[in-house]
């Protein structure tokens, strides 16, 4: 019996030049979803986007003074569910208090979490003493 699972854990330095690398892994995973019936090119873009946005936030807002400056990302594909976790060791924030962008009065920032929320099925942020984690879930059927 073959478990239908791919797990990819990535650690990169907190440098924006690695966003392309992280995003491209998401894009590549979309190719493995032979049973996905939706628009695969759109899904590939979304996974690239979500990993890019979440990792960029971890790099920007969560520089850790005491530890190594790294970002850890974990991607787990289970038959029908894709689970993405992006860890940071920063101050953390309250996800629920981040507002939607004001579409009538567009601003240059504040669109990242909006894209994550609108393309994925569930987004949570959990703070802890050691590490915070943004967890993103996409259902694939």
């Amino acid at each position: 019996m073959y478990p239908s699972i791919i797990q990819v854990d990535v650690i990169i330095p907190t440098q924006t030049k690695y966003l392309d690398f992280i995003g491209s892994i998401g894009e590549r995973i979309a190719k493995e979803l032979d049973t996905y019936t939706g628009d695969k090119a759109a899904l590939a873009y979304q996974l690239n986007l979500v990993l890019t946005e979440a990792t960029a936030n971890a790099i920007k807002h969560a520089n850790d003074q005491n530890q190594q400056d790294i970002v850890r990302v974990s991607i787990c594909l289970n038959e029908n569910v894709l689970n993405i976790k992006v860890y940071d060791k920063g101050q953390g924030f309250d996800l629920n208090s981040v507002p939607e962008p004001d579409f009538d009065n567009p601003k240059e920032g504040g669109m990242g979490l909006f894209f994550i929320r609108s393309t994925m099925d569930s987004v949570t942020y959990t703070k802890s003493d050691t590490e915070n984690v943004l967890e993103i879930i996409k259902n694939l059927n």
Partner: protein, 110 residues
């Protein structure tokens, strides 16, 4: 960031040669556009044919150019947007904010 400029009639066409605009190069793009505007170039076309991917910071850089040129009563136009990239504008309704055309000719010929 890889880009090159062409001058067509009164327009300065900024051709983006990178496939990707994200938090790594969007600040550079934003600054580049602001410098064009400061030089007095108030009719800018950003040609996005090669751009396969844009993130929120890339949209922000373009929005910055748009706002600054509007303040000078100029024109800031986007052309040749790939389908997946266009979706990014649609989700944020920025497709209603920007002037968007299929090709550079459509803008410069009129």
């Amino acid at each position: 960031m890889n880009l090159h400029i062409e001058k067509i009639n009164k327009f300065n066409v900024l051709n983006i040669d990178d496939e990707r605009i994200d938090a790594h190069n969007s600040a550079e793009l934003k600054d580049y556009i602001l410098q064009m505007i400061e030089r007095g170039e108030h009719h800018i076309i950003v040609q996005l044919q090669h751009v396969r991917f844009i993130d929120s910071s890339g949209l922000g850089a373009l929005l910055s150019g748009h706002k600054n040129i509007l303040a000078k009563s100029g024109r800031f136009v986007l052309t040749n947007i790939q389908q997946q990239v266009l979706t990014m504008f649609e989700m944020t309704r920025l497709n209603r904010v920007f002037e968007i055309y299929d090709s550079v000719n459509e803008v410069t010929d009129n």
